[in-house]
Amino acid sequence: MEDSVLKLKDFNAFFGENKVLKNINLDIEERKVWTILGPSGCGKTTLIRCINRMHEMTPGAHTSGQIFLKEKDIFGINPVLLRRKIGMVFQRPNPFPTMSIAHNVLAGYSLNGIKLSKNERNEIVETSLKDAALWDEVKDKLSQKGTFLSGGQQQRLCIARTLAMKPEVLLLDEATSALDPVSTAKIEELIFQLKNQYTILMVTHNMQQAARVSDKTAFLFLGELIEYNDTKEIFTNPRHKKTQDYITGRFG
């Protein structure tokens, strides 16, 4: 496919001797929402941490095989640079506790020492917060600490912080699992909006969520990619027994 953004080829990931991703092949198209679905411990987090090369920060962790971002082998790209192109949102909201809301949004710039004019700063803060559907709630308290926000707001702040860097791909690791239903709904709605601009790869063990928001779903089980297809297909007509067992709630 020509509009493939992210491509995994014969990819394996290890923690020491322990192989947690086994021969993954996956092709992710531009401006689509992909879900990696699978039971807890099957390697979902590991998979997306490999894509922005956070995996290799863990002592003893290593990989084999290839991942391409727009046809370029990511292991040939400086990881610092790669991570600016591939944004990531974590399971638990993690705003910087020393920074205000506005500074949190700008963190990717300020921590990297990138100088911005006041206008640029204001614009980035406003558009990023608007993109993250948080602007209306915080526009009057931009100089307050980000840690005073509710969990759902904090998570949207983290999304805004990531969007501010204008990444090409957005990785979401169970970004709603620590949140209440209302916040979850807001973020799901947000993901729906964002796919016009970004390629999104999200991880969840929540089938309803996968069914609600994603275009494509990949089912991961014990480190193996069992199958992937249009979300509708996966949920109505799975090819594999394991997928069927999972979506019908027979395990996990």
Partner: protein, 282 residues
Amino acid sequence: MADPQIKWRKIKNDLFKGLVVFLSLLATLPLLLILFYILRQGFSSINWSFLTNLPKPVGESGGGISNAIVGTLIIVGTAAVMAIPLGVLAGIYLNEQRNSKVARYCDLAIDVLQGIPSIVIGIIIYEWVVRTMGGFSAFSGSAALALMMLPFIAKTTQETLKLVPNHLKEASLALGVPYYKTVLKVIVPAGLSGILSGAILGIARVIGETAPLLFTAFGNPFMSTELSKPMSSLPLVIFNYATSPYEDWHQLAWGASLILILIVLTLNMITKFIESRWKIQF
């Protein structure tokens, strides 16, 4: 049958509690006595000329300890400049590479260093610095104090940074912030209040040290601000005057003790303030 036994158990319980409270209160008695004495004796000898004059020979009144105050500030300040950066970096290393072999040995070395008696630190610096420079000097005194501060600052930095949650580091790295900037701009600032109060407490701990200065900074009856020359300091002055046979000098020593205690208390209070005010909620 059970009743008297229960009663006896209650009595024992109360007696023990009484003993604990009594001994605890008794334990504070020395502190009260020491503070009382220093305040009573010290205040009467502190006045403007005491703070601004140089020591005078025995028999002449109006001598002061200005050189010792200046000396203490210079010696301790220089020590802090040497020890704080090294200690903080060592603490960062210990936290960041906590599973490495070097970190294990470094941790061990710091434990050993922290235990070295201050007088032995004096010998070591005498051999390293005083012999090399060919004489006593304020700098060698600073080196000795720095060697004493270093392990303390490294430890407090390590302990503080240990409490900084890993997810902040990951958040920063995931934004494409290089590792070194992540450490310096995210991890260290998150632990800044702890590191800062550790550094100040480190200063407070060594500012009263006398033993390591005996054969390094040595003391000097005159005003000196040169790091390469012997220099006076408050603890040295207290020691020399306290052990002298002259009443006048004892008075000066009480005054110097009061000043030293006030400095130490102020530094301790600053750390308490920093810890309570700047605490970051993760």
